[in-house]
Each structure stands twice: as structure tokens, then as C-alpha cells.
């Protein structure tokens, strides 16, 4: 994926560059808001990573203008302001995700990955998801593994749906808490792990191939 990083702090930009490059992305960097907007419009990027506080043009305004100008590339806000209000403000301006500084590199990589994927999978409305021999019918709310029906609680269903939609990508605990439970804080205990391991017990336990992997220090990955 080609990612444009708009960040004025060079040290930070370098770090983001390294994280994303290691994750296999091609990274371009703009150092202020005005340049960022021009590059975002001219270059063909798959994702934008935008700092909230920028010289020349504020990050919020940048994304707003970019969207008003018809720009479609998904954008992720980076900000030291982690309040709900700030996040809502950012999403309203047209960003697709919001990540508070400081963040773990895996978190950033996972979210950027998810952003690019989002755009690709937006086109046809999906009714069925499939990862290896794991199948999900979104309309009937049913799940099968190797043709065998699996009973899931509503929450487990949503958890699995999210994982399947992001199959092959690393999904962090924070992402799960945000997207599946809609909470934007980190619980001190391993609540998410427990939910994931229950889900794993249902979909993987009786099968040879383990689809739901734990990625150490990062999160989970559902992969065929």
C-alpha cells in the first residue's frame, strides 16, 4: 500500500515511516498541512496518516478540505488529544479512524492495514464471509466450520465478523474493544483475551488447522 504520512515532527515521522515500511508499505512524508493537502490530492495513495496539530494547515481542516474536494482515500488521525470529543470531531471532519499518541507500532500498522482494506471491500455489499473452511452468513447470522454449524453468542458473532472482515490482518485488542464493544479505553484486565479464547474454543478446538492466531505483543490474526 502507498501511505502518505503528514506529520511535522521529524523524529516521529521517521518512526512512523519505519513502522509502516516494515509492514510492507510504501511511505511518503509531508511536513506541513499545506504540502500534505497538495500531495494527498496529486499522489495516488491508499491511506493517509494525518497528525492533528500541523503548521500551515490544521489536520482537521486538511481532511475537511480534502474530502470537500472529492478526495476518497481513507485517513487516520494521529493526535495527542485522546478525548471522545476530539475523536468525534476528527471523524466528523472526514477521517476514518483515530489513534491517540502515544501508540504502539503494531497498533498503527494494524489500523493502517485495516484502512486500506476497508476501501477495497467497500464496493459490493457482502452477505457471506469465508476464511478457509470457516463460513459466515451475515443475513442468517449463522457460522459453519467445515460444513459443521457453530453456535455463537451475539457478541461472539460480532467479534468473529470483525475478525473475518479483517482476515489476514493483525487486529489489536484496542481495535476489537473499539469496533466490537464501542469502548475507547484500555481495561486493565485481559477481558478481550478471554473473549477471543472462548471464540477460539468454538471455532478452532475440534479442528487441526488453527485459524485464529495470537500475534505476540500485537493482537490477533484470523488466517486460513
Amino acid at each position: 500500500m502507498r501511505v502518505l504520512v503528514i506529520e511535522d515532527d521529524r523524529e516521529h515521522a521517521k518512526f512512523i515511516n519505519q513502522v509502516l515500511s516494515e509492514a510492507g508499505h510504501e511511505v511518503a512524508i509531508a511536513e506541513n498541512g499545506a504540502d500534505g493537502l497538495i500531495q494527498a490530492r496529486e499522489g495516488e495513495f491508499d491511506a493517509l496518516v494525518v497528525d492533528r496539530m500541523l503548521p500551515e494547515k490544521d489536520g482537521l481542516k486538511l481532511v475537511e478540505e480534502y474530502r470537500n474536494g472529492g478526495g476518497q482515500t481513507p485517513a487516520l488521525f494521529l493526535s495527542a488529544l485522546s478525548d471522545v470529543d476530539n475523536r468525534v470531531e476528527g471523524l466528523k471532519a472526514g477521517a476514518d479512524d483515530y489513534l491517540a499518541k502515544p501508540f504502539a507500532p503494531q497498533e498503527l500498522a494494524a489500523r493502517v492495514e485495516a484502512l486500506g482494506r476497508r476501501q477495497a471491500s467497500e464496493e459490493p455489499p457482502v452477505t457471506k464471509l469465508k476464511v478457509a473452511d470457516l463460513e459466515m452468513d451475515l443475513l442468517a447470522r449463522k457460522v459453519w466450520r467445515a460444513g459443521q454449524k457453530i453456535d455463537l453468542q451475539p457478541r461472539e458473532f460480532r467479534l468473529l465478523e470483525f475478525l473475518m472482515r479483517h482476515a489476514g490482518q493483525v487486529v489489536t485488542r484496542t481495535m476489537l474493544l473499539e469496533k466490537v464493544w464501542d469502548y475507547h479505553f484500555d481495561p486493565q484486565t485481559n477481558v478481550i483475551d478471554v473473549h477471543v479464547s472462548r471464540l477460539r474454543a468454538k471455532i478452532d478446538k475440534d479442528f487441526d488447522e488453527q485459524l485464529l492466531q495470537t500475534v505476540r505483543g500485537a493482537g490477533y490474526c484470523l488466517q486460513g
Binding site: 471522545v84 470529543d85 484500555d186 486493565q188 484486565t189 477481558v191 505476540r216
Partner: protein
């Protein structure tokens, strides 16, 4: 400081009192002038009119029928008892023809036919006593025959009224103004004193003493309300100052140990030869440690934002669903930790709040419960409503917190000694307390169980109920 004996002269209240007394004086003056005009003026006009009429009728008698007829008329009139008029008719030579006066009491005019206005003093006979003198007004005219005719009417009553009114005005008005002024001074001295107390309080605060409080007299007046508000503000300020001071110390202290651990690990790694495997392991641990430090920072950031206030985004919502979700989120984690989890969530738990913050607060309480409850224990989450409160209780079967530690347990970075070995930032309960504060609610720490001896922590989170 400018607290002279006459400092009140510069106060608003005193100025108002002054303006008020001036206005009061002016108003009384106008009122009395009107009264004066209305009574004395009309009395005078009436006397004038009557004099005029009498004079005209006498002149008519003279011009129509001659001097004899005039004389006759005067005699007849003198016979009417209680008539208000006095008459005098004199010959051209100044001899008295007929009349009430021994001599003409005023100088007669020389021009014929022109009425002159005169003021004079007349005697009023009183039965069985000396006659009294009283003021009178009259008209005097020299007739065509050279005779002089004087008609006078008593005006003593009128003068007395004038005198009395004048007296009343001159004595009452200054007294009234004086009283208004004295009242103003008293009120303004009181107000000035109360304001002075508040000023003194704020001055002390500016000088750095956050522990002073403005005196509240209990009368519930504006000054008391102001003082109460000031005190509430000062309490909050004091708490904030104390907590930020404490936070500063604690941040330094709490971040120093993980950071130095980090440093040591890296130093050690640098010293010895090590396999790639060990190096990776060391780095992974290092990252974990750094993540913990970052998490603490995030928590601090959130807390300071909360303390700065964020009332603006509170909305009315039912906590039931959120609590059910939290129960659903935490139940597996409890079971995983070998704990029994029970929840009992009532209906219609409407509050004015921030869903996210409340969820985080309850989640912190549940996190703590899981962390400090030994295996085979139990945790419960209960929510109910009373008449005016929503009450959420999180209980566990852990060691609990002793009574004397409970206040401090809500402070930032406070950690019970037993808990030092556990992971955690010491900010969890402080955040819950801040969230409760923001929602005008409170948290109370109690024993969850009393028998055989007290154990277990019960946190009671109460919020104002929204109907």
C-alpha cells in the same frame, strides 16, 4: 489596604444612599410645594374673588343710587352677624362716615376709580376676652365724589396655614434627609464590611494562602451566597492544587522505578554476550515496560482532562444497557480468573452522563475487583435506582480496604502496600472518583461482607437520577 474609618464613603451602597436621600429631599420639596399651592393658593384666590365681588356690588350701589345708598348698604351689611368683611367709608376730607375702623388704617389713593390692594391688621373681637389682631387683605377706592371706600377680608387663617406648612417643611425635610443618609451609612457600612471580608479572603488567596475561607453568616443573603460559592471554588482549587502537587511527585516516583528497571535491563543486555533469542526477549520485555509507562501517561492525561471539567457533553441515557454490556464483557474474564460473577441490573437507570466515562469508571472497578480477589472468590455488579439516585455497586471477596485508608485510596497514585506488587498505575480509583465528581455523584468504599470479620471491598457509586 484601604480600610479607613470612612472607606464606606467610596462604596456603591453609600453612593446609592446619598443619591437616594437627595432624591428623597427633592421629592418632599416638590410634594410640599404642591400642597402649599393647592391649599394656600386656593385660599388666596378665594379671598380675592370674594373681595372683588363685594367691592363690585358696593360700587354698583354707589354708581346706581348715590352715596346715601352706599351708606345704607354698609349699615345693612354690618348688621349681618358673622360677615367676613370689614368696611370703612370716609368723606373726601378723611372723616369717618361709617365703618369698622376708628381711622382709615391705610393711605387712600388719590386717583379716582382705581382699586388699590392693601394689607392691614384688624381686630377680631372675642367674647369675654381681649380682641386679637389678625392679618387682612383689602381693596380701597376713591369714588367719583371723593369719598374713600375700604373693603377688607380676614386672612389670618390663611397665614397660619402658610406658617405651619413652612415650619413643617423646614423641620421635616432636613430630618428626613438626615434619616435617609444615616440609614444609607448603616447599610453601606454593613455591605462594606461584608465585601471587605470577601476582599480579604481573595487577597489572602492571591498571596498564596489557599486554606482561608470567607465567613458565612448564615443569613442566606447575596453575600452569603457569594461567600459560599467562593469557598466551594477554593475547596476545589485547593484539592486540585494538592492533587497536582501530589501527582507531580507521584509521577516522578512511579515512573522512575519502571524507567530505571528499563535502564538496568538494557545496561545488562549491553554488558554480556547474548544470543539473538535472549536479545529479542530482552527487547520484548523492554517494550512491555515502556507500554506500561505510556499507559500510565494516558491515564494521567485523561484524569487531568476530567478534572478540568467536561460537563458540556453529558446526555440523558439509560445505564442499563451499558451495564449489561459490561457484565457481558467481564463475566468471561472473571470465570477465567476462577471467580464467580453475578450481576443484577435494574431497569430505567437514567442518568445525565457521559457513557464512555461511566463505562470506563465501572470497568476500572471491575478490573480492580478481578485483580484483588483471590481464586474461588466472587464478584458482583449491582445497579438499582432509589427515589433520586442511581446506585451501582461493585463488590468482591478480596481483602477490602480498611476504614482509615479509604479516603486516601481515592487519591492519585495511592496504592495499598499489599498492592504494590500488583501491576497497575494507582490511578484507577482516582479516575472513578473524578468521573463521579463530574457527574455530581460520589463513590463510597465499604466492607462487602461483615462475617466472620469484615472483608471484601464494596464500592458504591451513586449518581443523581435523571427522570
Amino acid at each position: 489596604m484601604s480600610s479607613g474609618r470612612f472607606a464606606f464613603v467610596r462604596t456603591t451602597t453609600f453612593r446609592l444612599a446619598l443619591v437616594y436621600s437627595v432624591l428623597f429631599g427633592l421629592f418632599s420639596f416638590l410634594l410640599l410645594s404642591y400642597l402649599f399651592q393647592a391649599t394656600v393658593g386656593s385660599l388666596r384666590a378665594e379671598a380675592d374673588q370674594r373681595l372683588q365681588a363685594e367691592m363690585s356690588s358696593l360700587e354698583l350701589a354707589f354708581y346706581g343710587f348715590g352715596i346715601e345708598r352706599l351708606e345704607q348698604s354698609l349699615i345693612e351689611r354690618a348688621l349681618v352677624p358673622g360677615a367676613p368683611f370689614r368696611y370703612q367709608l370716609e368723606t373726601p376730607q378723611g372723616e369717618r362716615l361709617i365703618g369698622d375702623f376708628p381711622n382709615l388704617p391705610v393711605t387712600p389713593p388719590n386717583t379716582v376709580g382705581v382699586w388699590g390692594n392693601v394689607s392691614l391688621t384688624i381686630e377680631v373681637p372675642r367674647p369675654g376676652a381681649e380682641p386679637t389682631l389678625t392679618e387682612a387683605e383689602g381693596r380701597i377706592v376713591r369714588l367719583t365724589t371723593g369719598h374713600v371706600l375700604l373693603v377688607a377680608i380676614e386672612t389670618g387663617e390663611r397665614s397660619r396655614i402658610v406658617r405651619r406648612i413652612t415650619q413643617a417643611v423646614t423641620t421635616a425635610a432636613p430630618i428626613g434627609v438626615l434619616l435617609a443618609l444615616i440609614g444609607g451609612i448603616f447599610i453601606s457600612r454593613y455591605a462594606a464590611r461584608r465585601a471587605e471580608q470577601l476582599t480579604r479572603t481573595t487577597e489572602a488567596v492571591v498571596a498564596g494562602n489557599l486554606y482561608v475561607r470567607a465567613p458565612v453568616q448564615g443569613s442566606g443573603d447575596e453575600f452569603d451566597r457569594l461567600a459560599t460559592h467562593l469557598n466551594t471554588m477554593l475547596e476545589k482549587l485547593e484539592r486540585l492544587m494538592a492533587s497536582s502537587r501530589h501527582t507531580g511527585d507521584s509521577i516522578a516516583h512511579d515512573l522512575r522505578s519502571p524507567l530505571s528497571r528499563l535502564r538496568n535491563r538494557l545496561e545488562t543486555a549491553l554488558l554480556g554476550e547474548m544470543s539473538t533469542e535472549t536479545a529479542r526477549d530482552t527487547l520484548a520485555h523492554t517494550v512491555e515496560e515502556v507500554d506500561r509507562v505510556l499507559a500510565t501517561f494516558n491515564a494521567i492525561l485523561r484524569l487531568s482532562r476530567l478534572d478540568a471539567g467536561a460537563e458540556g457533553r453529558l446526555v440523558r441515557f439509560d445505564m442499563r444497557e451499558m451495564l449489561l454490556e459490561l457484565a457481558d464483557l467481564y463475566e468471561p474474564a472473571c470465570e477465567d480468573a476462577g471467580l464467580k460473577f453475578e450481576s443484577e441490573i435494574g431497569h430505567n437507570l437514567f442518568v445525565l452522563g457521559d457513557r464512555e466515562l461511566l463505562a470506563q469508571a465501572i470497568s476500572n472497578l471491575l478490573d480492580n475487583a478481578i485483580k484483588y480477589t483471590p481464586e474461588n472468590g466472587s464478584i458482583s455488579l449491582k445497579a438499582m435506582r432509589t427515589n433520586d439516585e442511581i446506585i451501582i455497586e461493585v463488590s468482591d471477596t478480596g481483602p477490602g480496604i480498611a476504614e482509615d485508608m479509604r479516603e486516601r485510596a481515592k487519591e492519585r497514585f495511592f496504592r495499598l502496600d499489599e498492592a504494590r506488587t500488583q501491576s497497575g498505575s494507582g490511578l484507577g480509583l482516582a479516575l472513578v472518583d473524578s468521573v463521579a465528581d463530574l457527574h455530581k455523584g460520589e463513590i463510597e468504599l465499604l466492607w462487602a461482607h461483615e462475617e466472620p470479620e469484615p472483608f471484601g471491598l464494596k464500592t458504591v457509586f451513586s449518581l443523581p437520577r435523571e427522570r
